[in-house]
């Protein structure tokens, strides 16, 4: 069934609305979603202070705190979202709605990006203020381009994961948990990723987060040594490729997993 563009756009807005407007109505969520990553920022910044590390490392931690918010959103509100929807009984409603499945995913992504951007900005501002982080931005334009391309690639990965998670049962919870500390480690959230060695760092570059974070750090702290993985322009090209690839793969995976789910009878099977 073909649906006109207007209906799909309305579906995107409808799904995004919950996160753009609804999620900001509950102020306790906002509080905790800003506070929890901030606590991690404080802890890691104090470790660096305790070790008498260069102040730039504390800046790394603050920037990473903001990026953690995006990664958490992708894990729990994108990748695992269809699992929650299945548990709550909403997934079948999405599937019978006369809209593209990608419209639903795009709505989730757009809403999630907006919702998280507010939280990430708060983390960045508060963290920078408390620890007196000094930024030396090389190019604001490049910084904005790199940020948005990173988000495009990350949310593409989120949509792809969402399709894969659709058929997951209870293990979705554990799997999402598993992609926290290990990803923080291999993506170099709290240290320059190159410290892991070039081989590991290049392998970690399969995650757009690794390249995006490295490029953003290079652009935010251009005045000092940041031990970069690759030049920013190279990272940007790789991020663009990742963005296209992940979004295309998400579209294919969604169609395939939906068909597989129907064939195996697991699409709307709860508590499996």
């Amino acid at each position: 069934m073909k649906t006109d563009l207007n209906t799909n756009l309305r579906a995107i807005w409808g799904r995004a609305y919950v996160r753009v407007v609804g999620a900001n109505r509950e102020l306790s969520w906002l509080f905790f979603e800003v506070t929890l990553p901030l606590l991690a920022v404080f802890a890691f910044a104090l470790i660096y202070r305790g070790l008498h590390a260069p102040e730039q490392y504390i800046g790394f931690v603050v920037v990473s705190g903001a990026m953690v918010a995006f990664w958490q959103n992708i894990l729990w509100a994108m990748a695992a979202q269809f699992y929650w929807e299945k548990e709550m009984g909403n997934l079948e409603l999405y599937l019978i709605a006369p809209v593209s499945r990608m419209a639903i995913l795009l709505g989730m992504a757009v809403g999630g990006l907006f919702m998280t951007a507010i939280r990430a900005a708060a983390i960045l501002i508060i963290g920078s203020w408390i620890f007196g982080v000094h930024y030396d931005v090389g190019s604001w334009l490049m910084l904005l381009v790199v940020f948005w391309v990173t988000m495009g690639a990350l949310y593409g990965l989120g949509m792809l994961s969402s399709s894969l998670f659709m058929l997951y049962g209870r293990e979705a919870w554990h799997t999402a948990n598993l992609f926290q500390e290990p990803v923080y480690f291999i993506s170099g959230f709290y240290f320059p990723v190159r410290s892991l060695g070039s081989g590991v760092a290049m392998a970690a570059s399969l995650l757009p987060l690794t390249l995006g974070l490295d490029a953003i750090r290079q652009l935010l702290f251009s005045g000092g040594p940041v031990n970069p993985l690759l030049p920013v322009r190279t990272e940007l090209v790789l991020l663009v490729i990742a963005m296209v690839l992940f979004n295309w793969a998400a579209l294919k995976a969604l169609t395939y997993m939906e068909r597989l789910g129907k064939m195996t009878g697991r699409l709307t099977l709860k508590s499996q």
Partner: protein, 289 residues
């Protein structure tokens, strides 16, 4: 029925408690295969420790067998217990009230909410113990840490562990109890509290670098003394310079007082929350959509 309960023997009293612990294990592991669950349980803390390793190496350039790294590593490894238990018990009420909608039946059961929450936490405590042991073993195997636990230190170390475990369970019960009066959107609160404790108890950095009044708070909570006692037992020396003047017995005494205080506050919080939840009808009020 109450008379029968009052005269019940020990095994039958233990029965509901064991059932709650078994339920805790099933829910916590999400009914996964124990091996798969333990793999998940081990991987996260291990990578958390690896982050510390890299941070330490790139800044100091010292070998991981150095004393400072050992203090950080051991503190981080044992703090897993606090994170896991507090988060687990703190979410029990939300799970049972909102998701499984069983809280009203649990309330009616003869076990009592406090014992039920503790039993649920025991399952997580058992699983977390394996994570800690594994993380410590990796520390010795890969990073050259040397633990100096002599047989003479064993009673002290055991007491420290037990008191810290009790304080942690009590904190979990306090948070779990207080969630009876909260809507389900307070689910982040237990994680937030464990994050605050991580900052204040000096799990990975000395509390001496905390500004006042945070450093004063750090000296009030039992986990600061718990970790200091563990470090002294396992590594032969403490981490916090300002606590160096305290003897092992004084550390134990402060931990004991802190634990007693935490248990008392937890008990009062639970009783008050239970009373208010029943009186206002919040006990089985479903607050999600």
């Amino acid at each position: 029925m109450s008379e029968a309960l009052e005269h019940s023997d020990a095994p039958s009293r233990l029965g509901p408690w064991l059932a709650a612990a078994r339920l805790g294990w099933a829910i916590e592991s999400n009914w996964a295969d124990p091996f798969v669950f333990m793999t998940y349980q081990i991987v996260r803390p291990l990578f958390g420790a690896l982050i510390l390793v890299v941070m330490f190496k790139i800044v100091t350039g010292q070998p991981t067998s150095s004393a400072v790294f050992g203090q950080m590593y051991v503190g981080n490894a044992f703090f897993i217990l606090v994170v896991q238990c507090v988060s687990c018990i703190g979410l029990v009420i939300f799970d049972d009230r909102e998701r499984y909608q069983m809280l009203r039946y649990i309330y009616l059961a003869p076990i009592g909410l406090g014992a039920y929450l503790a039993a649920r936490g025991m399952a997580r405590l058992a699983a977390t113990t394996v994570s800690i042991l594994f993380t410590l073993a990796v520390g010795a195997w890969l990073f050259g840490l040397r633990y100096h636990l002599s047989p003479a230190d064993l009673p002290y170390f055991s007491l420290i562990l037990i008191l810290g475990g009790i304080a942690t369970l009590a904190m979990g019960i306090m948070l779990g109890g207080s969630t009876m009066l909260m809507a389900q959107n307070g689910w982040s609160m237990p994680e937030g509290v464990s994050g605050v404790l991580y900052l204040f108890c000096g799990a990975v950095f000395s509390i001496d670098i905390l500004p006042w009044p945070f450093s004063a708070v750090a000296r009030l909570i039992p986990w600061t003394y718990w970790l200091e006692g563990i470090r002294r037992s396992l590594l032969g020396s403490g981490y916090v310079a300002s606590l160096a003047g305290l003897t092992n017995a004084q550390i134990l005494l402060r931990l004991g007082i802190g634990t007693a205080g935490t248990v008392a506050v937890a008990w009062l919080t639970l009783r008050f929350a239970e009373y208010r939840a029943v009186a206002t009808g919040k006990l089985d009020e479903k607050t999600d959509h």
